[in-house]
């Protein structure tokens, strides 16, 4: 965790409607509440339902809002089909948080490249967990809970929940926390 002097460069990728911007806001808010400087960038405009959405998030000592290809240490992929498109963002030794079902597989050559770069993939079927909560749109929170359980971002589960409470509308708060906890308890 002390890697990169405590700095983190994160990419969150998926498709429109999956709550990428909200997820980015939760991680950013949690980092800010912990006293870190945060800068990043969102996709806006021409990103309708079902289109590719990506956000950049840099925690620590940075000035530019964009993560350069090859510099991200964490890649969140909320939609499995968006994984390969965003692989070039990852640095050697980076980590992938992937929302995918058990049928998902990568071409062998890509798998080999991932291994050669010492990149770890952490997979969760967040859609399945979200459906258990009867809310398919909440899969993003499941992924965040899962991320927090892996200890790869310097933010604890409780700190994540504080951030969710700070920005989530009252009406959806309980559901969001439950989805987060569902992800936290899964590996």
């Amino acid at each position: 965790m002390a890697k990169n002097g405590g700095n983190h460069q994160i990419i969150m990728a998926g498709v429109g409607g999956q709550g990428i911007l909200f997820s980015t806001k939760i991680v950013s808010t949690a980092a800010m509440m912990k006293g870190y400087d945060v800068i990043g960038s969102e996709t806006h405009g021409m990103s309708q339902r079902g289109g590719s959405v990506i956000s950049h998030l840099k925690i620590g000592d940075f000035k530019s809002p964009l993560v350069r290809n090859g510099d991200a240490d964490i890649l969140f992929t909320f939609e499995q089909s968006e994984l390969t498109r965003n692989l070039p963002f990852l640095e050697k030794g980076g980590q992938i948080l992937l929302n995918a079902n058990d049928k998902f597989s990568l071409p062998d050559s890509i798998k080999e490249t991932i291994t050669s770069q010492a990149i770890t993939i952490h997979t969760i079927d967040a859609n399945k967990e979200a459906l258990k909560l009867k809310s398919p749109l909440i899969a993003n929170l499941v992924v965040l809970g899962f991320c927090s359980s892996l200890n790869i971002i310097p933010i604890t589960g409780d700190e994540f929940k504080d951030a969710i409470r700070a920005i989530c509308p009252e009406k959806f708060l309980d559901l969001n926390i439950r989805a987060f906890e569902a992800g936290y308890g899964t590996e």
């Binding site: 800010m32 945060v38 960038s41 969102e42 021409m46 339902r49 289109g51 809002p65 089909s81 692989l87």
Partner: protein, 619 residues
């Protein structure tokens, strides 16, 4: 002072309320659209008396804000860079007359371009109009510059432009937030016709005054350590960098990554040119790279370019965004001439980019949403007039290009004028050519009205389809004048699109829900008949169906698989001619199926399925 996580556009909005701005107007356009909503949010949160307006277009927005400023108040007008083209007339003139209060023009640039018709650089407009311009490198700096720009505007009685580029507008950052500042200023319009209604003779005097102001402002910029400053300077050296805007931020992060500290002169105010500080910097280095977006405003203003690397010698690409990838790839080889750099990976060497060459991820082109009524309108237009010419306009419906139902897109409102020109040219040679122009509701009000007046006046004969989804959708759901909803959600007075069209003398005006394909095709054919009648004229079809995102139609789904037909033979006409993203072809079954994550059950695909011919789905 506290820290808040703010989008760059929200930081600019916050800057306006922290600096006592009284009146804010805007016309939406990516990447500027979130600034006015941020002002509205803060004014409601803090119960501030700020007048906010989504104007009909950018020229209107500019002049309304300027008029308010004439009473001595602080005002701001917000738009995207091409919006400033629409507002160019008042910009040029107001530079001469000056302003009595503080007046900011916030014009957001779009290097890329991500969502614009040009990559034009607002800083050139500043030079052209002779107006000072600020070029922020981050959300925090954009917010800080609002205060400095207001001070400068009031001190020199000049409009001031702030030019945030998309990577400032849509960046987010932990930003220092201060309490709002309330400036009590009773409105007082001081009559001064020699200035506010200056005749050409006085305009010459005003021009000379303006030039004198600019000289003083340049001196002020040369002495401002907040706006223009150098880092990593240590005596004379071989290589220096001059950078402006977000390029400065990218360059800093790239140097940090490489562990190198080359001297950088950051330019926050490229016009009027802080020449002394730049000349001094140039004097220290054998070679200086100039890095700025989107064009070469700093570079052009440097007199002695003999030691300059930039766009003019081809070092910097002359089109496209200067992303961290582009800058890294071009800076590393230059840096290597002056220092040793440990292992680096340029974009070309990216191992995944190579691995993916054989496994290209699917391209997700921007397309109209599932259930979007524009898709239905375009389908009907194509069906009624397969050999039509289809001038279109700026908005979501530009994406009708996928259905080959959009032939031209030029600028806001051009669909009607281009159609008028096409008509007169064909008509001149006595050729009957169906022309169907499409324009959205907000774009129609923005600049379609005078265009329609011209078409009526010159007795043009073609069809305009107003694609009315009751909202300005592409830029993020801003209300239109037809809804009577104002920027802060309160009620204004309605400007009816229907009454406006009828008021301009249109004799063929029909309303239709484009979900009813057959009805729409029938009306289009009637309109064409009317075009050709001796006593006929222009025909307008008002295609009305609310935007599916705005109306949240996708939340009202049954979830049961929607069947186009029980007898699907896999002809895929629905996919090739209609192209709804919810439809996909299942090879195993040789049938078209519906993806229920996307389908909103609008039912239009059922109407166009050949198996369903003769069946009535609207009865």
């Amino acid at each position: 002072m506290t820290k808040e996580l703010l989008l760059g556009n929200a930081a600019i909005g916050r800057g306006l309320i922290e600096n006592g701005c009284h009146v804010v107007t805007s016309y939406p356009g990516t990447p500027s659209s979130e600034i006015l909503p941020a002002v509205v949010k803060f004014k409601k949160q803090l119960d501030l008396n700020i007048y906010t307006e989504w104007s009909i277009n950018e020229k209107v927005a500019f002049e309304v804000a300027l008029g308010a400023c004439y009473t001595g108040k602080r005002s701001a007008v917000i738009m995207k860079q091409v919006g400033l083209n629409v507002a160019a007339d008042p910009l040029m003139s107001s530079a001469y007359t000056g302003v009595p209060g503080g007046f900011l023009v916030i014009s957001a640039d779009d290097p890329g371009p991500h969502s614009s018709q040009t990559e034009q650089d607002t800083r050139f407009f500043a030079m052209f109009a002779k107006v000072p311009v600020f070029d922020p490198s981050s959300p925090q700096e954009a917010k800080d510059m609002v205060g400095e720009a207001f001070e400068l505007s009031e001190k020199y009685e000049t409009p001031v432009i702030i030019r945030p580029a998309i990577r400032v507008c849509h960046a987010f950052q932990t930003v220092d937030v201060k309490e709002p500042r309330i400036i009590e200023r009773a409105p007082k319009f001081k009559k001064n016709p020699q200035r506010w209604a200056a005749t050409p003779r006085y305009r010459l005097i005003l021009h000379k005054e303006l030039n004198a102001k600019l000289k003083k402002i340049a001196e002020e910029f040369e002495n401002s350590e907040n706006l223009n400053y150098a880092i990593n300077m240590n005596g004379k050296g071989k290589l220096g960098i001059i950078a402006g805007g977000v390029c400065y931020s990218h360059v800093c992060d790239i140097m940090a990554l490489l562990g190198k500290k080359f001297p950088v002169l950051k330019i926050g105010t490229p016009y009027p040119f802080p020449e002394k500080i730049i000349d001094d910097f140039l004097g220290h280095y054998e070679t200086v790279i100039v890095i700025e977006e989107t064009d070469s405003v700093i570079e052009y203003q440097i007199r002695d370019k003999s030691n300059i690397k930039g766009r003019q010698d081809g070092t910097i690409p002359d089109a496209g965004e200067l992303s961290p990838e582009v800058l890294y790839d071009l800076l590393v080889p230059i840096f290597k001439n002056y220092t040793t750099i440990k292992t680096t990976t340029t974009s070309k060497e990216n191992i995944f980019a190579k691995a993916l060459e054989d496994h290209k991820p699917p391209v997700r082109k921007p397309i109209l949403c599932p259930g979007c009524s524009h898709r239905s309108s375009f389908y009907a237009i194509k069906k009624a007039f397969p050999k039509g010419i289809y001038p279109s306009d700026i908005g979501c419906y530009t994406l009708g290009i996928e259905q080959r139902a959009v032939d031209t897109v030029l600028d806001m409102g051009a669909s009607i004028n281009i159609a008028t020109g096409l008509y007169h040219s064909y008509n001149q040679d006595k050729i009957e050519q169906p022309i169907i122009s499409t324009i959205g509701d907000s774009t129609f009000l923005h600049s379609g009205l005078p265009s329609l007046a011209d078409a009526v006046y010159t007795d043009a004969r073609y069809i305009i389809v107003v694609l009315d989804n009751s909202i300005t959708a592409m830029t993020g759901m801003q209300p239109t004048a037809d809804s009577a909803v104002l920027a802060d959600g309160t009620k204004g007075k309605r400007v009816s699109i229907e009454e406006s069209i009828l008021g301009l003398g249109i004799k063929f005006y029909r309303q239709v829900d484009p979900y009813n394909i057959n009805e729409m095709i029938k009306l289009l054919k009637e309109a064409w008949e009317f075009n050709r009648r001796e006593d006929g004229g222009m025909a307008v079809i008002h295609a009305m169906h609310p935007c599916v995102i705005f109306s949240k139609a996708y939340t009202k789904r049954s979830g049961v698989e929607f069947k186009i037909t029980e007898e699907c033979e896999g002809c895929r006409r629905c996919i090739t001619t209609f192209g709804c993203p919810a439809l996909y072809y299942s090879k195993e079954e040789n049938k078209v199926r519906t993806d229920m994550m996307l389908c909103i059950e609008c039912g239009v695909c059922r109407q166009i399925c050949p198996q369903n011919e003769g069946k009535d789905f609207n009865g």
